[in-house]
Assembly symmetry: C2
Homo-oligomer: 460 residues x 2
Amino acid sequence: MSTAALHQEFARIAGPENVFKDASDLLTYSYDAALLPSQPPGLAVRPTTLEALGQVVRLCNQEGLPLTVRGAGTNLSGGTIPAREGVVVVTTALNRIVEINQEDLYAVVEPGVINARLFAEAQKLGLFYPPDPGSQAVSTLGGNVAENSGGLRGLKYGVTRDYVMGLSFFDTEGQLVKTGSRTVKCATGYNLAGLMVGSEGTLGVFGQIILRLIPPPAASRALLAVFDRVQAASETVAAIIAARITPATLEFLDNFTIRTVEEFSGAGLPTEAAALLLIEVDGHPAQVAEEAQKVQEICRAQGATLVRPAADAAEKERIWTARRAAIPALARLKPSVVLEDATVPRSKVPELVRFINDLAKRYELTIGTFGHAGDGNLHPTIVFDQRDAEQEKRVRQAVEELFDRALALGGTLSGEHGLGLTKTRFLVKEVGKATIAWSRRLKRAMDPKGILNPGKIVGA
Amino acid sequence: MSTAALHQEFARIAGPENVFKDASDLLTYSYDAALLPSQPPGLAVRPTTLEALGQVVRLCNQEGLPLTVRGAGTNLSGGTIPAREGVVVVTTALNRIVEINQEDLYAVVEPGVINARLFAEAQKLGLFYPPDPGSQAVSTLGGNVAENSGGLRGLKYGVTRDYVMGLSFFDTEGQLVKTGSRTVKCATGYNLAGLMVGSEGTLGVFGQIILRLIPPPAASRALLAVFDRVQAASETVAAIIAARITPATLEFLDNFTIRTVEEFSGAGLPTEAAALLLIEVDGHPAQVAEEAQKVQEICRAQGATLVRPAADAAEKERIWTARRAAIPALARLKPSVVLEDATVPRSKVPELVRFINDLAKRYELTIGTFGHAGDGNLHPTIVFDQRDAEQEKRVRQAVEELFDRALALGGTLSGEHGLGLTKTRFLVKEVGKATIAWSRRLKRAMDPKGILNPGKIVGA
């Protein structure tokens, strides 16, 4: 099909107002939040119905056009960077909350619904959607599912995967595949929903998603613990877990991150602290009171210089929002940011923190470390200037050492950001050749022309 | 390879004492707990190391021999019935608990470890492995993972899938594929562990399995609620969920099941009751006290004739064990038993119970209904005599009507028993042709010779 005919066909499917081909429009879809060269697509299309979405997929497959689905583009591993001359399928117009079922505790959503909107709508009905990635105010549920996004509540409530009851997706022929159920238990057919979670758009294009909702906790309490030694803070994390307490949130911020976030947000963080833990316990009021008490005792015993509850809900919200802004805050400092996602078994957090500090010294790099310490999932963030080739080389070497150490500690390359384009080449270190061969065989079978977000996860 | 040479090769791999070819031995491996004609395999082999297991898989693939993995053979959907002249791979000698990690809260096990053994070993260390299928005293964790087994605690604690952090499996070439991690979060590569859970041995053969453990609840209370109307009991289930209480266990037994179980176990169940709910709430002691109180109030308001806490731990254990014995108890009554697994959204339980009673009348069948009502997962169990062809026909028709109704109510064919051989032909009704085509394409790509437990889930 000629380019003109193709454009006409996309316009017929999605409406001419939803087909973008100007260079300035395409630039918008050429990058995401990962530090990678931008790559404008050949075309972007924004279907407004699931039917049109299916037709777009079929057309791309028929024409052999690479297709990258994009929600808000907050991806941190390059998962939404399109292929050259490829098509970006924008999901933002597929933003209907189809159903919130209060009796059976689930929601049915289209992929373009923003995470925070579902949270808010569920909350109005006395229900709770826990997964809260840092990007929750803008990122879409389709993107969350494609990346298996985590968030601040992951420690107690799990990640996106734990809330996907079912979903439908378009195969490369544009046929709708259905998997999972509106029931809390389902052992019917292959767990394709499980496979699709975290598949980064490489196996199919999501239609509707069925997400589990839960009753919200009856009470919660937020605590701030201030440390004058980084190591004491990281050991406190391990001590809280060892005491068999499972906080909803157990976040770590080092001094560099605290100062940067404070400057950005003015939330009132103690900028002189070597490290800070943000802790939230929730559940039954009596349990919350006891756990908050125990957590404070543990923090003090581990050497916290100050432990205090958030003064009120407003202060808690201010501080948590500031923490969620860590990425944009750090990104302001230098032209380039590499935000890593290596994850270790929780007991290894102190060792990982020590290693990261050593890494910063050895490579003479500025690394701000923060993240979901209770999950063993830290985000060491390197701010630098990519235009300095020598500096960039040091960054690359430091990142590779970080991965090696995380794996040596029994960890994994990614806790919640996925592999995308940035970590594909490291995968073999973690899982070995047979796993990659199996994964590629799977990918080829389900996408014979290789049109679905090519290059992501297992490479070309 | 000649049959003699093949036997010799299996003996070389697994040791001659672990290769079974006598008709009497093979009969043992010819059936499971589903009502299907028995099918003796050509040979059974019991590897004692994972290395030998991988070699067995490779040999079977090389020779084009169908291979069915079998743990305890408690499968209720025919998933462990071998192919004619196929090989049964028995996992009972692969029964090592490799590690229980108390700091990072996970266990690494071989597939032949019995569920109750892991539970007990974890308990000794102050940890908790929640999934508790009725068969837990004998069924293996490999089988639990292959079927995504549920259990009595599913309502609050989820099913096997929710505890699989990672696993390795042998592909058809005998190569070890690794997926998931020892970390609580992992977004590295495809979620192949999620795909393998519930795949019924059709995509690979499990090596080691990494299972999440959790801190046990601090307190629990068990309640019995007696009803003189079935409908009142089923409506109580919906009312408890609607009150935003999530009991660990919320089991329903109808009069026929109560009488049968009582006769079998002598546990002290009220045999005159029309229906019985077994309820357990757990968590923080204050929460347990409040929830137990609320649950009792709801039961009374819904018309329970008696609600009482279990007198002590021993009584609770006796009653719960009796409930777990429902299947063998019912199986004693008549030559044939069909135990179904259709599952509906929880609010539809009253409607499903009403439908099952109506079904029993219309088809003049004896149906005992029990199961995980809180999950919408009931087990209507038909006891009859298969030798009576007319009766068997009525059973088949009733089962098909049951599936249709469950689907019409927004439910699913199987909550926890899988499709195996018994429900494969109904799958299209639930998921449609495109899903089956996608699943078959997946299966063919990963098992080109079709040796891995052929015929299960999506048919040949």
